[in-house]
Amino acid sequence: MAACSAAGVDIPRFCYHQRLSIAGNCRMCLVEVEKSPKPVASCAMPAGPGMNIKTDTPLVKKAREGVMEFLLINHPLDCPICDQGGECDLQDQSMHFGSDRGRFTEMKRSVQDKNLGPLVKTVMTRCIHCTRCVRFATEVAGVQDLGMTGRGNASEIGTYVEKAMESELSGNVIDLCPVGALTSKPYAFTARNWELKSTESVDVSDAMGQNIRVDSRGVEVMRIVPVQNDAVNEEWISDKARFQYDGLKRQRLNVPLVKGSKGLLESATWEEALVAAKDAISKVKGNEMSFIAGKLADAESLIALKDLANRLGSGNLKVEVSAPHLDADVRSNYLANSTISGIDRADVILLIGSNPRVEAPVFNARIRKTFLDGAHVAMVGEQADLTFPVEHLGTGPDALAAILKGSPMLKRLKKAQRPAIIVGPGVLNRPDSAAVLQQVHELVEKADVVREGWNGYNVLHDTASRVAALDIGFMPSARSASAPAPKLVYLLGSDDFDPADVPADAFVIYQGHHGDNGAARANIVLPGAAYTEKNATYVNFEGRTQRTKAAVPRVGDARSDWSIIRALSEVLEKPLPYSTTDEVRARLADMAPHFAQVDTVQSPMWLNGEYFQAFKDRAGKAAVEKQAFSSSISNFFQTDVISRTSINMAKCVQTRASLAHK
């Protein structure tokens, strides 16, 4: 089949999928091979030299018609009420290759629907037993939840016992299903695919920057599906990326709000709100202001806010739940240097303080693929089920020290051709991360992880804004260490701020798109745009610059985030030197050239230990605490303000909790 598509001939198929193993059970891809007595299934037939393959002979046509007739025997005629209608492989192929009349007069079989949890809806009578979902669950997602029971006419796809799918990637079976047997539960009966406007964008629910297509109708996001990008997410996305979109329709900020005399937030015009912000800002000194960016902040607004803060004389910049000891001096120090696709080539992987299954599920699937290709995976950190067997070396820094002293793992890393070390947020977010990072650096040096043509030092981040913030240098300046307690705090979409950073008497300006902790604490609320409503730049944890595209209009009177900061600077009479998106991007490219190179990874410079030495000199000898590395994400489904407002995600949390009970 691959040979045929290389030659430009498209062969119909249901069960064959290039990222899954070959099943050969739908028989739709039958072709005629010269000197072969019967038509052969091209998906399972290796192409050989001198082979003559015919794909448009009467025999092939008849074979396809026959297969199609068999498939349609037990397929219900409910296309008009089927959510797959219009984008259904079976519908399309029966139009192309099916017979023009039916001879079927018997009863169709019926199959009981399965309950796969709050995300995947099943209509099992529509199933044609291609087993793509079963192969996806076992091969890619790594859960043994789906399977085939029964034989012949009685065979059914289902969970063996009544149980929801326990995977962070379960939504992908919806895309894989060539018919309408597995469809999206939240999307059910809400839209038809031909009424949707598709916008290719980037997901911000984790730091991986999964490529997505936002399907919208009018002002509503109707669904989110993956876009194929072999370098990032292949063609999978996590359930959070796919199903959190209903959070975009709830608890939104649509008008500027200013705290009135009664101590309540009251709606105001932009002019009133900006003037109120100016009054508050002009009352405090530069060093008494602090600026905190949230998990979903884009690069444009980050640079605008940094420029504004510097003009106001403040260097107190911070990203919430920050990795306090990472610095922006050397880019290779905070990126996944092997790149996401490069992990495929690694042969020994050591995870330190990272649980990729919750921090970046699609990346975890990628590590799993590497594992299946024969790589050895070990981890230091809290025990976690990564969907594949992992050598667990310990939970805390003492295990790291043991590796350094010379354990079999160190030897294994040294002997490996392409060893990779992945440092997760479990290390970065610790108060003593400087000391732990020194240990990690020592390990990187000792195990010789960075070699000619291979850089195995990877940092895995958990929030979409982190890498862009580091690239821009959105971090505390040297002077900020001696700054007094802030009297004015500017929150750029920050809802998970550390309460210590926002004193009770501080004046708070919140800019963001959802009403949550930040807006509830704020004195002034400036409504911004969510990631589906703006053209914004994000950088994922391998350093790939990617841009979201506006799919739907902004809510009410909300504005694009960087333009709010630009307007504020104008009111403060310290105007920023850019007034269009292109000019902001030019400023970004000025700051860091890779911002101009969208969808590419500019491999950063590796300073061969010089940086590690500098890091050590600066951080000094710090004590390492005993406690175990724990992942920053305790609840995969609710990590940021969008997923917290999403009802779909709340249902997922409930389902998981009930599964844990059993």
Binding site: E220, R252, L253, L264, H514, G515, A519, A520, G556
Partner: protein, 156 residues
């Protein structure tokens, strides 16, 4: 005498005069009521009653087809005497579909059974389609729900 007893029973009064005062006089305006209370009623057998207070009578000496009738619990005229208050199990007996009444035989209900209620047309609880302005729980056509600072302040 049976007529007197019937009037007294129907209106739950001790004397005929009181019964007439309590609403029996309406029989002179309402022919149906007169028929059931004055002509049919005397010497009839009370077979049973239902949850709405409807009483079911039978008198085999009547012409066939007129030998079973109901005296409604709510005898107000013209708002009462709602024939749709007769539940299905009594409806069958009343219309001679069956001879077994709930008074003489156990009624088994299917699993989807819901308690019977009278026709609600013309009342505030009558059916209104979704989106109709009469429907109290109208479907919200707003695409986006906006944050309300007052509610958030309470929860925070």
């Amino acid at each position: 005498m049976a007529l007197v007893k019937f009037l007294k029973d129907t209106y739950k009064r001790d004397s005929v005069l009181d019964a007439l005062k309590a609403g029996g006089w309406k029989a002179f305006l309402d022919g149906t009521l007169a028929q059931t209370t004055l002509v049919h009623g005397p010497n009839a057998t009370l077979v049973g009653s239902d949850g709405f207070g409807n009483k079911y009578y039978e008198r085999m000496t009547e012409q066939y087809g007129r030998h079973r009738w109901v005296v409604f619990g709510d005898l107000d005229w013209p708002s009462g005497q709602e024939s749709s208050t007769v539940p299905p199990e009594w409806h069958g007996w009343l219309h001679c579909i069956t001879d077994s009444s709930p008074a003489t035989a156990d009624v088994s209900y299917p699993i989807y059974h819901v308690p019977h209620h009278a026709n609600k047309t013309g009342t505030p609880s009558s059916y209104a389609p979704k989106g109709a302005w009469q429907n109290p729980s109208k479907r919200s056509w707003k695409k986006v729900q906006v944050w309300d600072p007052a509610s958030a302040g309470a929860s925070a």
